[in-house]
Amino acid sequence: MLKINNLNAKIDKKIILNNFSLNINPGEVHAIMGPNGSGKSTLSNILSGKKGYDVTGEILYENKNLFELETEERAHKGIFLAFQYPLEIPGVNTNIFLKTSLNAIRRANGEKELDAIEFLNLVKEKAKNLKFEEEKLNRQLNVGFSGGEKKKNEILQMSILNPKLSILDETDSGLDIDALRIVADGVNSLRKKNNSFLIITHYQRLLDYIKPDFVHVLINGKIIKSGGPELALELEKKGYENFN
């Protein structure tokens, strides 16, 4: 599904990703763990098409060159990024935003757009599963939401859009234990044969709830070790500094 080969990324001549390679197959859950500044967020930004990076190397998504796709086209083709810091958008109603987003993706894929009632039924069901207060959906997008609510809103969007490749950028940071469990349940319920996940995190904690197939350790823009879930536990014990 996703093949990253020798990806290098720079901002203002500062090297952030250094010969980074990763291969994700359909249905797999990969976790990338790394300390602050190791390039985790840059990776998720580049995958979803944020501008401002000098990039070399190759990213293939479903065997196509990802760099040829604009940000919104990547979303149309099933890439979803749950933001580390979801943005507050004043004046934009959450429901309207969700509907605009869902219908833009459906339209791009030649599917019928949902009308107001179909949409509300869908969003109600998904919100309920995530214990997301329905009343918040009528508020301005993320404005006045707590950190946890913003993260839940990301997972809500993910569950509505039902992407093929979900990238979770430190979704666990800022969540209390209950919220963490709800978010993890949300992710687990989306795990299917064809849906893949890339989970970016500092801590092993989230991986107690979402069991990854592979764990990669990212330090200084490079994966220095890959393994199974046990790698996360080892990492937690030793810390990043002593890990080599």
Partner: protein
């Protein structure tokens, strides 16, 4: 220009049946206008929008004479649909229709005024021009304790029959005590290169309420000036909202005299401009007695070489204790070619007052656009969502829900 003015003026006088006294007053206004000419940048109040240059550059020689002997056909397709309303229809400056069908006829008095008052001499040269050339003056009296059931829409329609003309319109409104009026000015131009000069005077008696919404949305190449003078007695409320978008040049001026205790004035507006348009809102809020309140919020979205200016002045008289005055302007500049100027002025002579002002300009937040695009929304749509979101809070200030919906629809804001 002088000769043209004098010839055109004489033609108008011979066409009409103004009283001798009116003609005399009109001539004084004409002479004064001839002396001053159109306002230029040299005048502090006009430094952001030089109307003299706008006329010279975009129109050239203006014709001040309009033949009002022929009736224009009213094209009803211009009328606002889905909102029952009273109407005054101006076509090319000529009043074609006054219709208060929805109201109790003995509660509204329409007077064709002949006695000009010289109260409004020398406010500025454009008012002098208006006084000299306005064809007919109508005064609309809303009787005490009467609230109009439906809004009044004043249609400002122009057709391609007029070109390089100066049109002067004048309306007077008196709201007797405890009465209320919702007044929508709706501009639709199919003409170009004209200068349209509008002067409204409002007398708001005790406990009365005026809501005036101005909608200039359709693209056109006319130059416009509108002056609202609002005189407010005790406990009266005025709410003005200006959607400033369609014309090439438009300066809206609002002068509000808060003469009575507990009177309040709200002036809110939107500039939505592109294509080198140049618009301005200038307000003068005069707090003249104690316990009065004013609130102003102006939001702008500017692109493609357009310019907007907001000059907001709050004056607090030395006896006007407990004044509450507020103004804020915010602007999004869509590119480097557009420009926003804010000139807030507070002139305070009383000591127990609460007054504040603020202004901020910036560009659209790229991170917000990226966030929306990462959800499958394309760049144009993302931009539109952010712009509409930015404008929403000033639209929410419109207290009349029917008009609020009309303006939302006009701007293409979806529910």
């Amino acid at each position: 220009m002088r000769e043209q003015l004098v010839t055109d003026f004489d033609k108008i006088i011979s066409d009409s049946n103004f009283s001798k006294k009116d003609i005399e007053l009109k001539r004084i206004s004409l002479d004064k206008f001839i002396e001053d000419g159109f306002p230029t940048k040299k005048k502090e109040d006009w430094k952001f929008l030089d109307i003299n240059r706008a006329i010279e550059k975009n129109i050239g020689e203006l014709d001040f004479y309009n033949d009002y002997s022929f009736q224009n056909k009213i094209d009803t397709s211009y009328f606002v649909k889905g909102l029952e309303h009273n109407k005054i229809v101006f076509i090319n400056g000529r009043i074609e229709k006054i219709d208060f069908k929805s109201e109790d006829s003995n509660k509204i008095e329409i007077i064709e005024e002949s006695n000009l008052s010289n109260k409004f001499n020398n406010i500025n040269s454009l008012i002098n021009l208006n006084n000299a050339f306005a064809n007919k003056n109508y005064k609309i009296n809303v009787k005490e304790n009467y609230s109009l059931k439906k809004p009044l829409i004043v249609y400002h329609l122009t057709s391609n029959k007029i070109y390089k003309k100066n049109i002067n319109l004048r309306l007077d409104f008196k709201l007797e005590s405890n009465s209320s009026l919702r007044l929508i000015d709706y501009f639709e131009d199919d003409s170009k290169d004209n200068f349209i000069n509008i002067f409204y005077n409002f007398d708001l008696e005790k406990d009365s309420s005026l809501k005036n919404y101005k909608i200039d949305h359709k693209d056109n190449k006319n130059v416009k000036y509108s002056f609202n003078n609002i005189d407010q007695k005790e406990n009266s409320i005025s709410e003005t909202f200006i959607l400033s978008s369609g014309s090439s040049f438009f300066k809206n001026e609002v002068n509000c005299d808060l003469n009575g205790k507990y009177s309040s004035a709200f002036v809110n507006g939107i500039f939505k401009l592109e294509d080198f348009k140049n618009h301005e809102i200038k307000t003068n809020i005069n707090h003249l007695t104690e316990n009065t309140k004013s609130y102003q919020l102006i939001k702008s979205v500017l692109g493609e070489g357009s310019k907007a200016a907001y000059q907001g002045k709050i004056s607090v008289n030395s006896i006007a204790q407990k004044t509450d005055g507020y103004q804020l302007s915010k602007c999004i500049l869509l590119d480097k070619t557009s420009e926003f100027n804010a000139k807030p002025e507070l002139e305070i002579y009383a000591d127990d007052v609460k007054c504040s002002h603020g202004s901020a300009s910036g560009s659209l937040n790229e991170d917000s656009i990226f966030y929306l695009m990462s959800r499958g929304i394309n760049y144009e749509q993302a931009k539109e969502l952010l712009i509409n979101g930015f404008l929403l809070d000033v639209i929410e200030k419109i207290t009349d829900s029917e008009t609020k919906n009309l303006i939302k629809n006009t701007l293409g804001l979806k529910e």
